[in-house]
């Protein structure tokens, strides 16, 4: 059975003018020990999905309007706030893109770590706690961990701050680690370090990881299975191998074609997806990608494409996905 099951999840946000549906009918599963990549451009709803799982949607603007999130046999959406608090940080942890905004700038690293520790292990005394913190920081590869405890977040580099965040997420080894663009603000060499660290911790602890990013190349490196999101819906879901060798949704194909490759010929025109992501207030009817799609026909404006189980463990939301099977290079 799947560890986490997101079923037909819909989320809407109230704005001054209207209520906009940000997630529409999002469905995916996460198996034990698996790395699920969630990829899409800004505004596609990938972060909102993770916030909904954590029960951290901004209130009162954000509301879950339908669907369920099943974890450990229960629907997380039915949990009371204090029940959710027991899940967060213990069973599901999260790390964010910019650790500088997630860490308190006026508190020392040690105090912040110990605060979390106290919440989860209130029985231990202060000296034990310090030792645990040192151990944790050492585990995530921070040099001179004892000294770091007395430092403030701004004294650390971006990569180090992200490591502190990971250490905090690992105080209780969670069942699921949600990583929301954890390497986007980092340099490639530091990104490689953090990816390595996450993979290593996963091997050790057997936790499942939901890795959210806009970078397809990072997904290719780390994910077992991939969910491609577009404008609040799932466009395609497949294993990483299948997705990159045979993308079925025209959006996935467009994305893959528009990244310049290292082996490509310099100074040639890149392939692009025409137009831009529609705003939530102004969504096209039917398939939300149809205005930018070369394959679009009348039916695309009338009917929302259903998820076709194109193959085992693979689905795609396109009326004409079969055309891609022929298209493949």
């Amino acid at each position: 059975m799947a560890l986490l099951q997101v079923q037909n999840l819909s989320v809407s946000f109230d704005t001054d003018e209207a209520t906009v549906g940000v997630l529409d009918d999002v469905t995916f599963q996460l198996a034990q020990g698996e790395t699920l990549g969630v990829v899409g451009e800004s505004g596609c709803g990938k972060s909102v999905t993770s916030l909904a799982i954590m029960g951290l949607l901004p209130k009162p603007a954000g509301r879950v309007t339908g669907g369920e999130i099943v974890f450990g046999g229960d629907d997380l959406l039915s949990y009371r706030p204090e029940q959710m608090r027991n899940i967060r940080g213990r069973r599901i942890s999260m790390i964010f893109q910019e650790p500088m905004t997630a860490l308190n700038p006026v508190q020392r690293i040690g105090r912040q770590l110990m605060e979390t520790l106290q919440l989860h292990r209130p029985q231990s005394n202060k000296y034990e706690q310090i030792e645990i913190c040192v151990e944790l920081l050492d585990r995530v590869g921070i040099p001179e961990p004892r000294q770091r405890l007395t430092e403030y977040p701004h004294q650390l580099s971006g990569g180090m701050r992200q490591r502190v965040m990971i250490a905090m997420a690992l105080i209780h080894v969670p069942d699921i680690l949600i990583a929301d663009e954890p390497t986007t603000a980092l340099d490639v060499t530091i990104q490689a370090q953090i990816l390595e660290l996450i993979e290593e911790l996963q091997r050790e602890n057997g936790m499942a990881v939901i890795f959210i990013t806009h970078d397809l190349a990072v997904i290719a490196e780390i994910a077992d299975r991939v969910v491609v999101m577009y404008a609040g819906r799932v466009a395609e879901e497949a294993t990483a191998l299948e997705l990159f060798s045979q993308p079925l949704h025209p959006y996935t194909q467009g994305l893959l074609n528009s990244i310049p490759s290292l082996g490509g010929i310099p100074k040639t025109q890149l392939k692009t997806i025409r137009g831009m992501v529609p705003s939530f207030a102004n969504m096209p009817s039917g398939c939300r990608f149809r205005n930018r799609c070369e394959r679009a026909q009348q039916i695309c404006a009338q009917e929302i494409p259903k998820y076709f189980g194109a193959k085992y463990a693979r689905s795609v939301a396109c009326h004409f996905w079969q055309d891609s099977v022929v298209d493949v290079k």
Binding site: E41, T189, A192, A220, F244, L256, S258, P260
Partner: protein, 402 residues
């Protein structure tokens, strides 16, 4: 000096005029050597560029140290060419870009644009320079005035620079048929600007109605198009793109890259393309300079640098780039630790603290950027052992062959 001559190679036999314009004070050793041959200076020639930022401390601020943001770098750029500057954050690549427009004042060194040194220019000269050299920033939202309409933003360059425009340049500006020129002459300055703004908007792929709107009404990609329109308004010869596509989504990024490539071809633009995304840099550049802690550690053509990196840092940087192909999960070369502080850069080779090939000599002597050419590739590298190392690591080779 030899690598400079090689990279630049701006010698031509047929134009004495430009040569004579060079102020005799500014004639450097390099130029004397070729004095007998008539010489067109390259579009841009940077020599020994250094920028130190003072570190101040105390209630009465006292300088207690210096950040070596850019330390003695040199390169040349020809007309219509693209130089990619890559490196991690804090390596000084943006400072280099800003120095070229003198948005920061270099501490030492010279920046020669068409044979004129911009370091000593006065305000009037700088204004004239900025007609030829423009910059596009990473976040167009911060670089566009949010209280001005797009029309105002795009007409400003014409208002500022029209006044000082010489008659001949004006003529050059208004190429076209006799009838068109006549029509242009009858236009009032305001109507003329209006026409130019529409042309610019069309050129960068925006609707003419965009002129009446404000920057916040546009998406990131569209705002970057406005930034580009403003940069090309005065038909510059060089544009510095400082992380110009880094903040954009992939599908939009490719549109902007294509636009820049188009414009470059159309206007014979030279570009300095500063970015941390090596795949994008490789795609747009003719040659690439890799920077580490304020210094250039390797220069090469964009083909060679990925196929055959010479410097261990370049090799590590390339191996760290994720590749969109799950069948090839590489053994990344994971560099240990962070970039050292530029206030106290390491002795000798600045990369020796993180280099997996480092030997005692590396911390004692400073390697110079020297020609590093073997049978299959050119370029230059600042490493004592580039020949012995026989880079690249097999994995990097594999990426390049893909």
């Amino acid at each position: 000096m030899s690598f400079l001559a090689r990279l630049g190679g701006g010698c031509q036999m047929n134009d004495i005029k430009k040569r004579n314009e060079i102020d005799s004070e500014n004639v450097t050793e390099n130029e004397i050597y070729i004095e007998n041959v008539s010489y067109i200076p390259p579009l841009l020639e940077v020599q020994g560029l250094t920028k130190l930022f003072p570190v101040k401390q105390g209630i009465i601020p006292r300088t207690v140290g210096q950040v070596h943001a850019v330390d003695d770098i040199s390169f040349t750029l020809e007309r219509g060419e693209t130089l990619g500057l890559v490196g991690e954050s804090g390596c000084g690549k943006s400072t280099v870009g800003k120095s070229l427009l003198r948005l920061v004042q270099p501490t030492h060194g010279s920046v020669m644009f068409e044979g004129r040194d911009i370091v000593g220019m006065n305000r009037g000269e700088l204004r004239a320079l900025r007609r030829d050299v423009q910059i596009i920033f990473q976040d167009p939202f911060e670089s566009l005035n949010s209280r001005h309409t797009v029309r105002k933003i795009l007409s400003e360059p014409f208002i500022i620079h029209r006044r000082g425009l010489k008659a001949e340049e004006k003529q050059k500006d208004e190429q076209g048929t006799e009838a068109e020129r006549k029509q242009n002459e009858t236009l009032s300055p305001k109507a003329e600007r209006e026409k130019k703004v529409c042309e610019l908007l069309n050129r960068v792929g925006l609707d003419e109605s965009a002129a009446n709107r404000y920057p916040h009404e546009f998406s990131g990609g569209q705002r970057q198009r406005i930034g580009i329109a403003r940069a090309i308004a005065l038909k510059p010869k060089l544009i510095v793109c400082d992380e110009a596509v880094s903040a954009l989504d992939v599908s939009v990024q490719s549109q902007i890259v294509n636009l820049l490539l188009d414009l470059q071809q159309e206007m014979d633009l030279a570009l300095i393309f500063i970015a941390h995304d090596l795949a994008v840099v490789k795609h747009v550049s003719d040659k690439i300079a890799v920077m580490y802690l304020g210094q250039i550690v390797e220069t090469s053509t964009s083909e060679d640098i990925y196929r055959a990196p010479k410097h261990p840092y370049t090799e590590a940087l390339i191996s760290a780039i994720p590749v969109a192909d799950p069948t090839r999960r590489p053994d990344r070369i994971v560099l240990k630790g962070d970039v050292p502080s530029p206030i106290f850069p390491p002795s000798g080779c600045r990369f020796h603290t993180r280099c997996r090939y480092a030997l005692p000599r590396c911390s004692e002597e400073t390697p110079l950027l020297e020609l590093a050419t073997d049978n299959s590739s050119g370029g230059s590298a600042a490493c004592f052992f580039w020949e012995d190392l026989k880079l690249p690591h097999s994995q990097t080779k594999e990426i390049a062959s893909k």
